[in-house]
Subunit: 210 residues, 2 copies
Amino acid sequence: MYSEGPIRQYLDDAASGGPTPGGGSVSALVGALGSTMACMSANFTIGKKKYRDVEEECKQILARCEANYKKLLELTDADTKAYSHVSKAYAMTKDTPEEKAARTEAIQKALRIAMDVPLQAFRACAAVINDLDRLADIANKNLISDVGVAALHAFAGLRGCKLNVEINLAYIKDEEFANKHQEEIDAAENRAKRIADAVIGKVYAAIKKN
Amino acid sequence: MYSEGPIRQYLDDAASGGPTPGGGSVSALVGALGSTMACMSANFTIGKKKYRDVEEECKQILARCEANYKKLLELTDADTKAYSHVSKAYAMTKDTPEEKAARTEAIQKALRIAMDVPLQAFRACAAVINDLDRLADIANKNLISDVGVAALHAFAGLRGCKLNVEINLAYIKDEEFANKHQEEIDAAENRAKRIADAVIGKVYAAIKKN
């Protein structure tokens, strides 16, 4: 489990010529890092007299973003396993028509499993970005740059996860299934981009006021 | 040293109500994660017969991106220390005019130290993005989505580091110093954005061809 191991080890393995951790795992981790910055901003708002009016709302955002970074960390680990299904399926023999058909079916099945991990991570990143919209308005002003950092990394995580969904979708032969998922992630990316851009705009407006 | 500790611990501490690791540290780490994906793509290209013509070039890119992720990991640790200078300076007494002047001077000095860490990380992210421009053209086509992931995270890291330079710059009273640095990072961000967008464009063009 990479999540319990040292950061340096994860980076060294990611950089190496081994297959894992790859882009899906790394993107889930980047999303998790973004989510922690949302939590930190909420934590520095909760319990402050000046922000008492928004305390309850901050607690709800904190609970969701905590769940999301933990989920994203799980997916950081899970992605390294999902990948092995695909490579095992590709390694199946294809000498007879029966073997060929079984291999194709196994590949198609493995692709859906491999796609599911970055898709879950994509959705968790989108959920974090949703919460940042409000957090940028109510969080402790001293932490405003961290809300911006949260938006940058949650959105980069989302786009990285999307790319990893899409490389699997490109090989999935069920067009209806592929199109349905492509539409979902395109729409969610557009929505997330609008929110992330608005959050970063608010952050810069707050910094310039100093 | 966070780099030698478990990933989960880093995330838990980042999310907590403690001051470190904050947005600067997290952004350096995101940049490091981007850089590892450049290394992985280079590693899967080196030694392959099909890519023999670009092997030497890939080795040079790999060496630079390896140095950059190691540098960014160092800065992930360093940022958590730089911050403490600023909070110590702000905590100085200011009862007499002499104390006030000494405090102001200490704050101004600490801000420059605190700014230097994300500035170095910003430059390392920019260097990674520079290398991705060529890597997107020559890397093993099976790894093309990872080159895209590298671009996304190196650029998110760069923007996060920039934000952390800027929050320090906003309090630095030496306008010439502040303007000089603002111009440098604005120009470098624009350049990096052009490259990162072009890389991601190439990645999507390659995926759609499947």
